[in-house]
């Protein structure tokens, strides 16, 4: 998807800089068809991603409840800072005592999940594509109604 989007971006730039001609118009039509195909693929991908996200959500919930039964009520770390109001709810969850620098497992679990999940996504190439994000809000991609005169 990322490669295709980048290829399309490059093509758009080449055509955008060219002069108006019959050949140019046919190239633009071809480009639009490609864009439509890319959008369809993107829709299919979104559906697939939604399903996998649901599965990941379930897996992480299961993992959370497992860890919860092991570490509940235990101080797993000492925080090097005094957490502010709403963070205290997480960092001191189910802990006894008034020392707010005591850290419950849930706070560390959330941080670990954030770092591991995003880095794994990036490493394995499942991270949201920048090229796709640009494509969706790109100045090169005007709404289809504006491009109708080319058809």
């Amino acid at each position: 998807m990322d490669k295709k989007t980048k290829k399309l971006e490059r093509k758009k730039k080449t055509i955008g800089g060219g002069a108006e001609s019959v050949q140019d118009k046919s190239a633009k039509k071809k480009l639009e068809r490609e864009e439509e195909r890319l959008k369809a693929t993107n829709r299919d991908m979104s559906m697939f991603k939604m399903k996998s996200m649901f599965a990941i959500g379930l897996a992480f919930t299961a993992l959370l409840s497992t860890f919860n039964s092991i570490f509940e009520g235990r101080v797993v770390a000492k925080l090097p800072f005094y957490p502010i109001g709403f963070v205290q709810g997480l960092s001191h969850r189910n802990l006894i005592g008034d020392d707010m620098t005591d850290c419950s497992f849930i706070f560390l679990y959330i941080l670990c999940t954030m770092t591991v999940r995003q880095n794994l996504q990036k490493m394995l190439g499942f991270a949201p594509s920048r090229a796709m994000a640009r494509q969706q809000s790109s100045p090169w991609a005007p709404p289809s109604s504006q491009m109708n005169y080319l058809r």
Binding site: A77, P80, F81, C103, L108, T115, R130
Partner: protein
Amino acid sequence: MSSKPSIDPTWTTTLGKALSPRSEWPDKDELLDVIYWGKQVLSLLVGLVFGFTPMTGFLGILSYIVISSVVAQHYVTKFQSVDEDEVGGFWELSKEGFGAAFATYMVTWITVYTYTMTE
């Protein structure tokens, strides 16, 4: 209208480019990827240093944010000599991979600090 076939750079070539000054970055996303992983490494290092020092309080968080933003900006503009507007400006550079890098920093800082305190 012939387009050149694009060859995906391997991670070794990207690393080589990232470590040498004033490299050519025809694909700006590649440079943003370098910034992402660079921030991860920086977070790990800063977390280790602040944990062992030990740095405490919100000064630790604020210092990390400042260090991360300034290093990323200097790397792009000074070391690589790329116009920062080409990669989206200062804000975009600071935002790139911030969530994951901040989480990495927090985990390292907290873990190392706890280890230092219990030793």
